[in-house]
Point group: C2
Chain length 150, copies 2
Amino acid sequence: MEKLDNVIFYNLEKAVKSYRQFAQANCLKAGVEITIDQWLVLKTIGEYPDITQHQLAGRIFKDVASVTRMIELLVTKDLLFRKSHAEDRRRFTLTLSDKGRKVLELMRPISLSNRRQALEGVTETELQTVQQVLQKILHNVSKEVDEKTV
Amino acid sequence: MEKLDNVIFYNLEKAVKSYRQFAQANCLKAGVEITIDQWLVLKTIGEYPDITQHQLAGRIFKDVASVTRMIELLVTKDLLFRKSHAEDRRRFTLTLSDKGRKVLELMRPISLSNRRQALEGVTETELQTVQQVLQKILHNVSKEVDEKTV
DNA sequence: TTGTATTTATTGATACATCAATTATATTTG
DNA sequence: CAAATATAATTGATGTATCAATAAATACAA
């Protein structure tokens, strides 16, 4: 009773994991030595040059602790520079290195192709429905405002 | 250009992660000291008493190495027994302990309620669309049969 | 302005993911 | 049957997730 195959959350996880493996494999094939997660960090820093690690974590839905460690890695891989922020000494300024920028360029066509391949045969309408459902789920599981404010 | 918010795979990951946190928090609230992943293992063993670790891994889309370690944990937590298989000495027979069965019973209503809450406002039709799309994605990203068999 | 709270980030501990290499047992094939 | 192959599981190495505790700097309130 209640086969896992019918539980949407298992299928969601399955699809997400499979896509990740697929995407990761395609990066390697293209000779880019980076994990999808590391790429996400680089990409986000590229888009938001003055972002804090905290905001970064939120944007890629990761833990701040994870982000700290990923940044360390990216720095030792010479993809990223980190220097103390000029105006707020609690923060750090994160800057892509040349190598980091190069990786991002290499990745752009790959990630586009990954998505295109993965979504082959999926219609625009279907996509919209999926997005709607995901929004609803997100809304439902996000910490509700405490209603004990009677 | 190409905001992450519009990329379905980010939203998928986001939804999956959020649901996991939600589900995990609800377990803790109910006093069940187990991770969702450990629960998945127990549940699957309950449903397939003679399963191999390899099959188990496939069923919950995890790595065999992860499964090995999770089983070790579950054994030390006294939720699971493991003894060498009678007919095939490469294998192990995995058996739920009383404590393990009790945890599964405690979890049943919780997981049902988790899903119900998370899917509030989502119609049956929408769900079906999502399932279809997930199937398509899975199909697209799964290793294609090598077509160089010319 | 001193004390308190908040924000930014790190660190330690534990759990899980993934890949590659290895061990042990079974199965197949010559 | 012996050799080659396949299967079941473990182990090591590296990367990520999550929680809790901490440190340092900044903001805010009395």
